[in-house]
Symmetry: C2
Subunit: 320 residues, 2 copies
Amino acid sequence: MKELVLGIDIGGTNTKFGFVDNEGNVFGESSSPTWGYPEFDDYLAQLHKQIDAAKAFLGFEAQIVGVGIGAPNGNYYQGTIEKAPNLEWQGSVPFVDKLRQYFPEQPVVLTNDANAAAIGEMTFGVARGMQDFIVFTLGTGLGSGIVANGRLIYGHDGLAGELGHTLVNVFGRQCGCGRKGCLETYVSATGIKRTVYKLLADYTEESSLRGVAYDKLSAKMITEAAIAGDFIARQAFEYTGRVLGMKLADTVAHFSPEAIILFGGLVNAGEHLLKPTRHYMEENMMNIYKGKVKLLVSGLQDKNAAVLGASSLAWQALSG
Amino acid sequence: MKELVLGIDIGGTNTKFGFVDNEGNVFGESSSPTWGYPEFDDYLAQLHKQIDAAKAFLGFEAQIVGVGIGAPNGNYYQGTIEKAPNLEWQGSVPFVDKLRQYFPEQPVVLTNDANAAAIGEMTFGVARGMQDFIVFTLGTGLGSGIVANGRLIYGHDGLAGELGHTLVNVFGRQCGCGRKGCLETYVSATGIKRTVYKLLADYTEESSLRGVAYDKLSAKMITEAAIAGDFIARQAFEYTGRVLGMKLADTVAHFSPEAIILFGGLVNAGEHLLKPTRHYMEENMMNIYKGKVKLLVSGLQDKNAAVLGASSLAWQALSG
């Protein structure tokens, strides 16, 4: 009987899941709605029903030996989701405790999405064999998962690694966290939209993006425009890379990592993002670090990274 | 026969050493000159002679079971001192390899002074029992030693934890590292001197510090003036605490530590430094961290912290 781990990735709209073997092959990928269940127990019952159905359709006998969960505001120590702004459930949700009714004997591990991505890179991606690296997930916000001495850094309360909320500019952009000038207000899908609108105001150049309303503009459009040669879009990536590169120089002074790994849709812009990021990181780093830190693109970029990352949490728990 | 560890702290002028038991009691403290030996082998021979003499004068039978060394630009992985600007020896000095001729069988461990201080706090100071904390040493420069998951963070190349060289202001003060606006140009004994001179220029208030030339001004004088109520000196500590507190908020977003521990002469100013540091750290932190991170004063402040810290490296190696 094949041993598989159940990887679960909780998004605001849907919860994706899949069964993953110890080589990173994913079977029976499916999903269940996250939104529309004000009662958490109802959501979980529906999710479990979908998981059972997907397992029945695998076409081979399988044993679920562990469960890994990536969740917004996931607390590794408590197994809880804490005050996630994009979910319906208020306060602290005891996800792991509740899920145990369906998986009473297997290890069940939960952490935030970026930490799951970091373990995913270490298990199945470009960080295999590395002991010291940092993953940045560039999505609606900016998440980060930090590995040092071969272990994720959870911090004293399980909430370490919020690099999206380090300071770029004390007089900077309003952030969803209530403060101003956080890194994710510049470096994220939302951040680059804000940058495009600022550039459209500052410059007079023609741009395909002048015809798009703010509410309709997506990071994908900006990426495609940059690849097509659009001046404003390219400037937006240049600016995004500059802000990211400067902050990376600070992060390197903390950890001296072997690599920094970028993940998410913005990375599809390739060198339009990587070149300025690398340039400003190198320019702003202390001499002793220059030329030593690899800037890499995620090895899970084209795969179901969230499910893989979540599953790798459980594989790691089983192996350690 | 009593088992003791030899702790060595290498400074630019003198090398201090002492024999430390596993409860942190220091015996036979002494020193040997660092400066004046262009040939490293001559320095080491003299140091060893002094160590032997101090051991002979202990007054009881002792066995040296390990050696710990705190050194500027000390590389833990290599056992080397790398391009230390305040030492006479050029390039990379293979300190541990050379010292082994005198201590061939004991564990010999070397790291930089701030890492040694962090292990010292964990072994004998205020960080006993903590898994996640950061020590800031405020001396001529600003050093930092970071512990996460109960282990020092050395990084990929052994050079992690240079928080003195994170960026405060891109247009800021010239730093000895060749860049501008590094944290240690504001928060260190040298940094507060620079701040005092700026404030003496900006304000017209009377100050006892107006009678002191830049070359004669010390952090100790500024501390004493602040305690005595001097307006300029108090403003200088307020400013120093503000800059430090704001950067600590960023550092907390990386590590979510249980405590941040301050060490060094500036800490003798007590609340003149701690109050603004705490205030601006809390004000600039993300909500999820507020009220959780202890700001502590070193537990080794009045002891021979450098020798204790260095020795604790060896005690840790012996216990692990």
